[in-house]
Amino acid sequence: MEKHPRKLLVVITEAAIEKAVVQDARRLGAHGYTASAVRGGGLQGEREGAWEADRSVELKIVCGRDTAERIAEHLLAAYAPHYAMTVWLADVQVFRAEKF
């Protein structure tokens, strides 16, 4: 089966802004996303997820390169200054080009 190159955008951030981030990503061209609860630590200290304000979420979005960069840049500009946020991109291959 033929494979198509796409980008995987990974965003780890505060659960408080999950809804907003997903909305923005959809608006900027993502066809889907996957979310899961995570814990972690970084520049803003430990986030253990023990209660509401301390919860983190990891979002994964597979999409085209341009879309991925557009979303990443928007998120970094809009949220990273004030929220715990980590963003990276990776190369992946998908089989159903039209889906992503």
């Binding site: 200290g45 209660w51 929220y83």
Partner: protein, 315 residues
């Protein structure tokens, strides 16, 4: 008077953090207990509410609303001036103190029950009334003057979240169901929502102790002036609530509850709302003060003090 066991659970939680124990309560338990407490408080209040002349509650409801809206206006200049915080942080913390803590309210009910003082359960409605106004005023303080633009997330979203956020929704839902089914209809639900209440509250305070104990590091960074604010604010706002309760002619139980609500700071609704509405405020400061100082103060000393004063001043 020995400490309420419920408060000892809080200290047990704090101690676990200080001793670096691996004790953690599962997230799902925390969420379940908070849903349970909100429903239980609501149901009990609703049964009582249905028995009351609603008009007679209007004065205290209106007073509670005013208290919640006014407290941030007092807190803000204190936080700007003496504590020396930037506008966004001062406004955010002010919002936390304008809003209320439902668990502190529950502890006050428990303390009143132990002391044999009648506590009007219908005051649960005040928790719902006092949740949002302080938050709105806090956002206005952060935004209104600094260029006039609205909150980061839009007023519509914030208003919706305040009214239909799970805390207020469950509390109002419980009140409504309690009022609709009344004493008799509630009977089959009493073993869960009545008898277990104190035990569930104890467990929840264990969790709150773990969370609060984990924020003590934030406090150190926040500095002694914010800690002092966290200790004085409940005394100041509690006194205002006490005065308001006396002026309304409430009994000792009612006065204690109103003082407690005024003295308490939100650590559920307000943090979420301020995070979205005023992102540039540092949440470690507001949560450190509300949960690391004021909440422990209220549950260990404050509530007992408000009750002692209320008894002296109403008799």
């Amino acid at each position: 008077m020995t400490l309420d066991p419920v408060v000892l659970f809080f200290l047990l939680g704090v101690g676990a953090r200080l001793a670096r124990s691996d004790l953690r309560l599962p997230d799902a338990l925390y969420e379940t207990l908070s849903i349970y407490l909100l429903l239980a408080i609501g149901l009990k209040g609703g049964v009582e509410l249905a028995r009351q002349d609603l008009w007679s509650l209007l004065p205290v409801a209106f007073t509670a609303f005013l208290l919640s809206a006014t407290i941030p206006l007092i807190a803000f200049p204190l936080l700007r001036g003496p504590v020396g915080l930037p506008r966004a942080d001062a406004a955010s913390i002010a919002a936390h103190y304008g809003s209320v803590s439902v668990v502190t309210f529950a502890v006050a009910q428990s303390v009143l029950a132990r002391a044999g003082v009648e506590a009007p359960p219908e005051f649960a409605v005040l928790v719902a009334i006092m949740e949002a106004p302080g938050i709105v005023v806090g956002i206005l303080l952060a935004r209104g003057l600094s260029g006039g633009q609205g909150p980061a997330a839009g007023w519509g979203v914030l208003l919706h979240d305040a009214l239909f956020g799970k805390a207020v929704y469950l509390l109002l839902g419980g009140l409504l169901i309690g009022a609709l089914v009344g004493e008799a209809g509630m009977a089959p639900l009493r073993p869960l929502f009545g008898d277990l209440f104190r035990g569930a509250l104890a467990l929840f305070l264990l969790e709150m102790g773990l969370v609060a104990g984990g924020r003590l590091g934030d406090l150190r960074r926040a500095g002694p002036r914010l800690v002092a604010f966290g200790l004085l604010a409940p005394l100041l706002f509690g006194a205002i609530g006490l005065g308001a309760g006396l002026a309304l002619g409430l009994g000792a139980g009612g006065v204690t509850l109103l003082a407690t609500l005024a003295a308490s700071a939100s650590y559920i609704a307000a943090p979420a709302a301020m995070r979205v509405a005023v992102p540039e405020a540092n949440p470690a400061l507001s949560i450190g003060a509300a949960l690391g100082v004021t909440f422990p103060f209220n549950v260990t000393i404050g509530v007992g003090l408000y009750l002692w004063l209320a008894q002296r001043l109403t008799s």
